[in-house]
Symmetry: C2
Subunit: 488 residues, 2 copies
């Protein structure tokens, strides 16, 4: 025999949940627990109402709902019963709690461990030499806020809130194309570009469209691990190619081309990641020649072209006359702020068409409000203005870094003053265990990136990449001194 | 012999591009075209400067740059030469233009044609019965604009502009968890949820983590094509399962389970897409029992739970006590606006961990500014307020649709007044070629969705899905009359 309903159904009055809903939910819980079994009769609505001290209509409403949902059945003149159609439940006494799902799951899935982020603490009193990120404190936030405001106020704002063009807002594509034409000598049309969520999504889409499982993809080694991950994820067999001062070793690449059919080569020619070196002209031409001869795509990641201190920025491979197979990937995130995720990929129209179709499956479209706000910033020249201002500040910080390295690191490491980008690349003169070094430095309040992240085989390198753009002079000085001290 | 330099180098003064950069770029172009060959000597800087009518320093700067980049070499007392290290170029006369890439590409890639969007014209005078989308004109845009403004003004704004938590802003996860707990009887913790770019990305990530190529995945048929695409893309072998009035045919599903190991079952239990029917209690329990017995994951897409007209919303499968294998997917996009891409996926913590690692590879993180703005709307109860207001309007529109269908379609089609969601599902009493019907209707100014989109085998169905939420009474009336007329 069941206990009195009053003790089974535990109603709370004056809460957000209506009483009838509480009754219905708790009856379901009893059915699921197996205490109310299929075919069991329920008290009449009047009796239950009295028992619970509620209005009869409340109980009727609950019963009606549960009948509609199939938990209960009503038979004329007989009453209300737990549905006979329900499968028998084993009685379970375990409380529903937030651990029940994770504790008892019995399906299997693939565990991903690649792509684990570099932890960039923002509120620790550490001196962080990061990956080469821009200083978020310089981000044109007020300008961006004003652009958002204007976008929200404009007449056409409603249109923006429905589904949008999956290639990105035409206004932003137009602004980016103009910038690419002026700054990078690139001439693409509106159908040859797709706006993405940062360059990461541009790389992901590119890899997924280009590569079938088992295809060979060559990459620079050391290089950019998130790009390695993207190609590996697409099923690529990876061919790491070494670098020298001029850039990727094209002789080694050609040997690889002769051994197997290579699908794509991923390069960062403007400021190679992590070494910061620019790929020299002969390497560029040779790479393009090999691409045309062996029919591989070049994925050119022009990630850092905004920050170049030389008098003249190098033009991207994609701008060369014989660049028939180049997929061009870049981003505005480093120019505005990392959190403003605007990347893009440009290439042959049929390739972009295919990439856009895949993009539909992944996230359907971008954020039209944000894309229009960024387009407005670009149209008004505010992005350029910000870039010039930021470049001036980074130039000063680079000069400070140069002096500090000259004073404290010259005997310890070889380095070049980078032509562009926001990091220095130091190669130690003697063997240094950089994993231990990083651990040791952390204890003294300095964070550097573990160098096994850069090498394809995840072995530590005898080098350091020091991103300096977010550091004040005093922090750089303390940081470099501590690094030098730890190396002796 | 070369023509005079003045005719080769075509300088423009007073443009954005500096003269030295024009000289450098054009010399490179000549080298690439093969007119300047490796080893060829260049005129002295004084001579070239005179010839071009520019300051000698300008030419020196250009030469220095090109030497640094490896295009030219300088030998003491001998002069400046095109670098011998450059590979020989075939002479090309083709102009660089925007077609050159697409015309001449010789790499191959996978063409995607799945996931092609439904075209939703927004500026045509058509009467559009859409998929069941909310009315963007009702979107709480002023509230959203104010939330953005406050986010941009707050002190912690700088922090938001760096890289963010790849699971989504904690503030938004907290707000969503509270909503799920109040409205959906779901208890997840902060590590059991990942904010995504709309429910589309939630489905994509889920499929990629769950499914290995060759795995079997069962889906409702008819069903939601973007979900089919996501599982197909992950390499799933698809098992379409038919529906009846109660929901997915669990008997058929159990037969399939006995034949092969099924990895996942994708369902839309709240308002099945496209038929709008709710899955009944016995089906729900049976589905959970099968999931626990055969060890498959249930991917529960709770896409439309915000819009329910019954007195009580059905609780999701994931809230059931024995829901050990349920991955819960939903979205705020339908509540706020389609363009505000906030979806989420919740499930066992280890599963979400893996999903988040994959997400890092795809787009790294979401948009922290937007996520905080949406969280603020939720915290202030504005999302709920908007939902109640919108629901009232949709309830009226549903009533108008009900009357119109009653008057004009009753003899032609069977339908139920949907308990929730923003569409009606009409099944024709006699055979109707719905492809022809859609074409014919378009000529009269009415757009309906082609029904082959809903069926797994892409065969037209003898049915129509009529999304009504964005239509005024007058439009509905004209639309329904034209549909009825076309059916006779």
């Amino acid at each position: 025999m069941l206990r009195p309903w009053k003790t089974i159904l535990n109603l709370e009055f004056g809460t957000e949940k209506s009483v009838f809903q509480q009754i219905a939910d708790q009856l379901i819980a009893e059915i699921i627990k197996g205490r109310l079994k299929p075919g069991m009769s329920l008290p009449g609505s009047r009796i239950l109402a009295e028992d619970l001290g509620v209005n009869r209509k409340t109980v009727v409403l609950a019963y009606e709902q549960l009948i509609a949902e199939g938990w209960l059945e009503a038979f004329y003149k007989k009453g209300t019963f737990v549905s006979e159609k329900l499968p028998k439940q084993k009685q379970r006494r375990k409380q529903i709690n937030e651990d029940s799902m994770s504790a008892l799951k019995n399906f299997s899935f693939t565990a991903f461990n690649e792509g684990v982020p570099i932890n960039i603490p923002t509120d620790m009193p550490l001196i962080v030499f990061n990956d080469g990120l821009p200083d978020v404190k310089l981000a044109p936030l007020d300008e961006l806020a004003r652009a958002y405001k204007r976008i929200f106020q404009q007449k056409a704002r409603w249109r923006m809130l429905g589904y949008a063009n999956e290639r990105g807002e035409e206004r932003l594509r137009t602004a980016v194309l103009l910038m690419l034409s002026m700054d990078r000598a690139l001439n693409f049309n509106l159908n040859q570009i797709c706006i993405t969520r940062g360059s990461q999504m541009a790389l992901y889409l590119t890899a997924q469209v280009l590569v079938k499982p088992g295809d060979f993809v060559a990459i620079e080694n050391p290089g950019y691990r998130p790009a390695f991950d993207v190609f590996k994820r697409a099923g690529a067999r990876m061919l790491p190619v070494k670098l020298d001062e001029q850039g990727i070793d094209v002789k080694e690449l050609e040997k690889l081309c002769k051994l197997q059919s290579i699908k794509a080569v991923y390069v960062t020619p403007h400021h190679q990641f992590p070494t910061t070196r620019s790929m020299k002209a002969d390497r560029r031409l040779e790479l393009l020649r090999l691409s045309n001869q062996y029919g591989f795509a070049i994925v050119e990641d022009d990630y850092d072209h905004d920050y170049h201190f030389g008098s003249r920025t190098l033009q991207p491979l994609a701008s060369y006359q014989n660049a028939h197979n180049v997929i061009y990937v870049s981003s505005l995130s480093k120019l505005i702020a990392p959190a403003v995720r605007v990347g893009y990929v440009a290439g042959p129209e049929s390739f972009i068409d295919s990439l856009v179709a895949l993009r539909m499956t992944i996230d359907r479209q971008g954020d039209p409000v944000m894309e229009n706000a960024v387009a407005e910033l670009m149209e008004e020249g505010l992005v350029n203005k910000h870039a010039r201002r930021a470049l001036g500040i980074y130039r000063e910080r680079r000069a400070i870094m140069t002096r500090l390295l000259e004073t404290h690191m010259k005997g310890l490491a070889d380095y070049e003053v980078p032509e562009g980008g926001l990091a220095f690349w130091l190669v130690f003169k003697k063997a240094v265990n950089t994993v231990q070094l990083a651990e040791q430095l952390l204890k003294t309040g300095v964070q550097v990136i573990s160098t096994e992240r850069f090498s394809f085989d995840e072995q530590p390198l005898n080098a350091l990449r020091l991103g300096y753009a977010s550091l004040e002079a005093e922090e750089m000085e303390r940081g470099i001194k501590l690094i030098a001290a730890a190396c002796y």
